[in-house]
């Protein structure tokens, strides 16, 4: 058996350097990362990359910064297992390897000129942050923007500073809620669906972008349809087990779709009949 170098391999890694890290909550950590020579990642909002720690493994992680920021990009990682816990041990100056970006992100060209209702549950804020920051970087290109954010407890709130900023901005509408309050919490309490009826939108020109834990989708979609948003204007991003990112390994398959290539962002219309999707 000979082993020869393979130039075109879909598994080739790119070296990247951690510029900066920040502990966000007990389980989530923020990473700012630059490729060699600070070359741009060239991703679309909503796309993900495969993050590699050779010798440990590789995991899909959404890019959570706007492509407008070209020298570096951001990740927000929740420590759950082998690779993610090991990632949490890294600090500024350490190296990681990446592949990608992969998949289909949010269809920016279609969203431009329209109103947006962005709904994030928990860690779902990570992929949406790339969309939100992109919109803020190009605020003139979009219509009205609503952001709804929900998480279990106040202490699990990610990107707190930025949420503050969004809250203060006059060119967008922001609301958040927690499932369980703590004594310092003065805001809304309740699941995220409770926020939806109160948003004032023109359903015909509104696109909804929803990312959150699997159980959230059914409820949120019901509310959105009730509000009259057409099915092809609801965008969802899915999480599945993934190994290759190239639409081959089969793990992320939802019926005949591969989340890694056909998604992770889907139009609700396209997947509503896939019973394995929800």
């Amino acid at each position: 058996m000979e082993k020869v170098a393979l130039k075109d391999s879909g598994y080739r890694l790119k070296k990247a350097k951690i510029l900066h890290t920040k502990k966000m909550t007990a389980n989530e950590k923020f990473f700012e990362i630059a490729l060699r020579e600070n070359s741009p990642l060239d991703h679309e909002p909503g796309q993900f990359i495969m993050v590699s720690l050779p010798g440990i493994g590789e995991v899909p992680i959404s890019v959570c910064s706007s492509p407008v920021k070209r020298d570096s990009f951001d990740l927000c990682v929740r420590a759950v297992g082998k690779v993610t816990r090991s990632l949490h041990k890294l600090k500024a100056g350490d190296e990681i390897d990446i592949r990608g970006p992969y998949g289909k992100g949010f269809p920016i060209r279609i969203l431009e000129g329209n109103d947006l209702l962005i709904i994030a549950g928990g860690l779902g804020i990570a992929p949406l942050r790339s969309l939100i920051t992109y919109i803020l970087d190009n605020r003139r290109d979009f219509g009205k923007v609503h952001i709804l954010f929900g998480c279990k407890e106040p202490k699990e709130m990610l990107f707190g500073d930025e949420l503050e900023d969004w809250n203060k901005r006059t060119d967008l509408h922001y609301a958040c809620t927690v499932d369980r309050a703590d004594p310092d919490w003065a805001g809304n309490v309740g699941v995220i669906t409770t926020l939806i009826p109160g948003v004032d939108i023109d359903p015909i020109r509104t696109f909804a972008a929803v990312v959150g834990p699997p159980i959230m989708y059914n409820f949120v979609i019901k509310e959105l349809l009730a509000k009259g948003i057409p099915e092809n204007q609801i965008l969802l991003s899915f999480e599945r087990n993934m190994k290759c990112g190239n639409g081959k390994c089969g793990r992320c398959q939802i019926q005949n779709l591969y989340v890694c290539q056909d998604g992770p962002v889907f139009h609700y219309e396209r997947i509503k009949n896939l019973s394995e999707a929800f």
Binding site: G55, I56, G81, K82, R85, S86
Partner: protein, 246 residues
């Protein structure tokens, strides 16, 4: 990196898994190059008795003294690794639980049975927390090596949670069911590279069952071969009797 301090301890078992370590040959030296073995009664006279980074445990917990000893070891050790079926699932020692404790003591020791206290056989994790499992009777060296590496890297090792058949097929064995004999491969956790079947024997289930076995399906399959249910259960219980304790 400082070398982790390691102790190897045995409870009721055949000590075959420790022997598997010696059977690694000169690779043992590579392993010993990255760890400091401070206590290993079977091959060393040195005793340590202080804090350890890794305690490797072989054997099942079968008497009150053992319960005390394993708890002491757990307190001293940052990471506890259970090796071999006796430690990970109770293994053959569990067959004892098929009998009344006094009955079996009398059978073996006659009138003097009172000198020999015993308890229901338990796997190590049924007494103290276990961080890593190396299943198998005996453990499969490549898996032990993989696990030691994971422990040194500080990452989890997940034993396969699919049946031996997977590996058996990859080895392109003629299935035992094609040879008209019953094999426990379909319900047994893989990771041994279908060791027994590669050598023409059936799987005895030494690695324990997969986490969500279709037991009814398996019993149907076994029953197809007209062997009494009792024998089938007996067969599954050879290694897996301790599953009943929780």
């Amino acid at each position: 990196m400082k070398k982790p301090k390691v102790g190897i301890f045995d409870f009721a078992c055949c000590e075959g898994c420790q022997l598997q370590i010696a059977n690694m040959g000169e690779d043992v030296l590579s392993v010993l190059g990255s760890i400091d073995v401070l206590e290993w009664r079977e091959v060393m006279s040195e005793k340590w008795g202080k804090k350890l980074d890794i305690a490797i445990i072989e054997g099942s917990i079968t008497d009150p003294h053992a319960v005390k000893r394993i708890k002491q070891i757990r307190k001293k050790a940052k990471i506890l690794i259970a090796i071999g079926s006796c430690a990970t699932i109770g293994g053959v020692n569990g067959m004892k639980n098929n009998f009344g404790l006094d009955d079996i003591r009398k059978y073996v020791y006659g009138d003097s049975y009172r000198f020999f206290p015993t308890e229901l056989t338990k796997a190590v994790h049924q007494v103290v927390k276990v961080d890593y499992f190396v299943h198998g009777c005996p453990m499969y060296i490549p898996e032990f090596v993989a696990l030691i590496k994971a422990a040194l890297q500080g990452i989890p090792y997940y034993p396969p949670d699919y049946p031996v058949c997977v590996e058996c097929k990859l080895n392109e064995n003629v299935c035992m069911y094609d040879r008209q004999v019953t094999c426990l491969g379909p319900v047994t956790r893989a990771g041994c590279n279908s060791w027994c079947i590669n050598n023409g024997n059936i799987c005895y289930g030494c690695r324990g069952m997969v986490s969500n076995p279709n037991e009814k399906g398996a019993q149907d399959v076994l029953a197809k071969y007209n062997i009494p249910m009792e024998l089938i259960l007996n067969k599954m219980n050879m290694y897996n009797k301790c599953r009943e304790l929780t």
